[in-house]
């Protein structure tokens, strides 16, 4: 199978330790070169930190894994240098349709507003994402990516972790200040450290069939409850690149996974669904069950758990890989500040705090979707079908139809890093919110807010006219650039113009920034390197900005 994709085989290189003999000490080691581990390593290297990335295999993911990458993940991937490649290869979509028996009962738009750079979602086979990330990592001299390097033992003290790593040429030891565990749902690091992951297994089985065919279905997500071609169960259809279609059939707990995987069982199911004699080839077939669970703590002294190693959700909502990429996005700028001795180690506890909160939100949403899609009792099934039977005609019932609440970033409301509002603001951009995008213009060139604002702390000062910025304001801004963790000051202006003091000016050419950030002359936003809002004010006061910065890097 897998006729449309040839897996690269990456070269194993005997590690320097086996040649030189001595044990080396590293600042950061990442275990697992999946999407999350690769994202973490690339982010570190882009920030100037050397990183060792170990993977026990020598290729990208095999078979059917994650396929949906949401807007927020794409924005992070943009920052890592692979967003364009993913979007160019992927299938962009914004519309989802839900059917009950014979009829469409509901459809949704992922992006309700115009003027965002990235679509709500793209579909892309996970191996392409990994291939693009590996290529990017290999461009970065600070990433030491070692294939066929399998961690077989780990122990840690208060100031370092020690690993035993097995290679085709033997075992070597290494030490690291920080260890990022990105080794997936069956994390061997988690197991070797005797750490638990708590939650529940859902008693249902699903058949995945990736099918190669020419079809003119639109690039939309289609979800059926109890369709005529698969009575009593649900079915999901997604388009992927290379004319590959993902079809996901709910089978029920009694199904025999080995039997169901056989082509003589799979092919009639697909034929019944397609309803015609169209030609197709099976690209991949598997049967899966899933769990909704997470570790209690994502940080254990020197070890930081990210992605599926830390938390697992049901696939409904595409909240697995998407949340893992956001874990890395949240962790790496913090770890980098700690390594540079610009922030206390306790800043890493805020990684755990913020991403445990996000994991709980993802678990809650995916568990709710699962209950709706695979009701756990006859009362639950009756309510589910009642909702679906009302959804065609009554809007309130449409809002209750839950075929997956698709991945959106968490608002980190209540995070200890936020500075609460002391003035009135409308809209969604509260402290802790992931930034909304907006189209801007800089020196006549079009650009996106989220491409302009990233990688460092920035203060976005909204003004009507750049030229009107006075000497008092400039003097107030001066200390920010000189802070130990520098804050770059940028003007976002209603009208184009030249600012005094050589300040960077971004023109709010479509007015979306003012609208989405409830900005008026003098409004300032302090934003984090991971594009979340830290604090905001109606006037610029460097004392308040520096206090909010100190809070945002855990120096309070």
């Amino acid at each position: 199978m897998l006729s449309t994709y040839g897996h690269p085989q990456y070269a194993y290189v005997p590690p320097v330790e086996l040649r030189a003999g001595a044990t080396r000490r590293y600042a950061v080691v990442v275990v697992g070169a999946g999407p999350v581990g690769l994202a973490a390593a690339i982010d570190l290297a882009q920030r100037g930190t050397p990183v060792l990335l170990l993977d026990d295999d020598d290729t990208v993911s095999v078979g059917s894994r994650g396929i949906c990458y949401a807007k927020r993940a794409l924005e992070v991937l943009d920052r890592l240098g692979v967003g364009d490649g993913c979007v160019a290869k992927g299938v962009s979509w914004n519309v989802g349709r839900t059917f009950f028996r014979d009829d469409e009962v509901y459809n949704f738009q992922l992006l309700s507003q115009p003027d965002h750079k990235r679509p709500g979602m793209i579909n892309l086979q996970q191996y392409y994402l990994e291939e693009f990330l590996v290529k990017r990592a290999q461009e970065l001299p600070l990433v030491d990516l070692r294939w066929k390097n399998k961690v077989v033992a780990v122990c840690q003290s208060d100031d370092l972790a020690t690993l035993q790593v097995e290679t085709p040429d033997g075992v070597y030891a290494l030490e690291t200040d920080w260890l990022i565990a990105a080794d997936g749902a069956r994390s061997s690091l988690r197991r070797m450290l005797n750490l638990e992951v708590e939650g529940k297994v859902f008693m249902d089985r699903f058949l995945i069939a990736d099918v190669v065919m020419k079809a003119d279905f639109p690039a939309e997500r289609w979800f059926w409850f109890d369709p005529p071609f698969h009575r009593g169960q649900s079915v999901l259809l997604h388009r992927q690149p290379d004319n590959v279609w993902r079809i996901d059939f709910q089978l029920g707990w009694q199904a025999d996974p080995e039997e169901e995987k056989k082509p003589e069982h799979v092919i009639p199911r697909i034929k019944a669904m397609l309803g015609d004699d169209r030609q197709f080839d099976l690209e991949w077939v598997s049967v899966y069950t899933f769990q909704c669970r997470r570790m209690r703590d994502f940080r254990h002294r020197r070890v930081l758990f990210v992605g599926d190693a830390a938390h697992q959700v049901s696939p409904f909502g595409a909240r697995g890989a998407n949340s893992g990429i956001q874990d890395a996005d949240n962790l790496i700028w913090k770890l980098n500040l700690v390594l540079d001795r610009k922030a206390p180690e306790t800043l890493l506890d805020s990684y755990a705090e913020e991403r445990e909160l996000a994991a709980d939100e993802n678990l809650m949403n995916s568990t709710r979707s699962t209950e709706f899609i695979t009701p756990g009792s006859s009362a639950s099934l009756t309510f589910r079908n009642a909702v679906l039977s009302l959804a065609g005609r009554y809007p309130f019932a449409r809002a209750l139809v839950n075929s997956g609440r698709l991945s959106v970033p968490s608002v980190l409301e209540g995070s200890s890093l936020n500075t609460p509002d002391s003035e009135c603001f409308r809209g969604e951009m509260i402290p802790g919110a992931p930034m909304d995008d907006a189209p801007l213009r800089e020196a006549g060139r079009e650009l996106w807010l989220l491409d302009a604002v990233r990688d460092r702390f920035m203060l976005l000062c909204y003004v009507d006219t750049p030229a009107a910025v006075d000497a008092t304001t400039l003097a107030a801004l001066a200390p920010l650039g000189a802070a130990p963790v520098a804050v770059e000051v940028v003007l976002v202006a209603a009208r184009d113009g030249v600012a005094p003091g050589g300040l960077r000016v971004l023109e709010d050419s479509a007015g979306r920034y003012a609208e989405r950030y409830d900005a008026r002359n003098g409004t300032a936003y302090l934003v984090r390197p991971d594009q979340h809002v830290s604090a905001r004010w109606r006037t610029i006061d460097s004392e308040r900005v520096l206090a909010a910065l100190a809070r945002a890097i855990g120096r309070v």
Partner: protein, 75 residues
């Protein structure tokens, strides 16, 4: 005369919601949780009691009659 509201209408004054689907999902979860571990007969009794409570809360019989009529469509 009041009429039945069939637009999405769930809210929680103690909570700030960031996603439009969340208040309805909160309701639905509470509803399903209320039925956990009950037999079918117990669930049916819970539903009947719940309808009586909610109908009394609505009070306006024109609204209740409209809901009864919609609920019976195509059953």
């Amino acid at each position: 005369m009041a009429t039945l509201n069939t637009a999405a209408n769930f809210s929680d004054p103690d909570k700030r919601y960031f996603r439009a689907f969340s208040p309805g999902d909160d309701f639905y979860e509470a509803l399903i949780d209320a039925h956990r571990e009950l037999s079918d007969a117990q669930s049916a009794l819970l539903n009947a009691r719940l309808i009586l409570l909610l109908a009394n809360h609505i009070g306006d019989l024109n609204v209740v009659r409209e809901a009864l009529s919609i609920a019976r469509e195509d059953v």
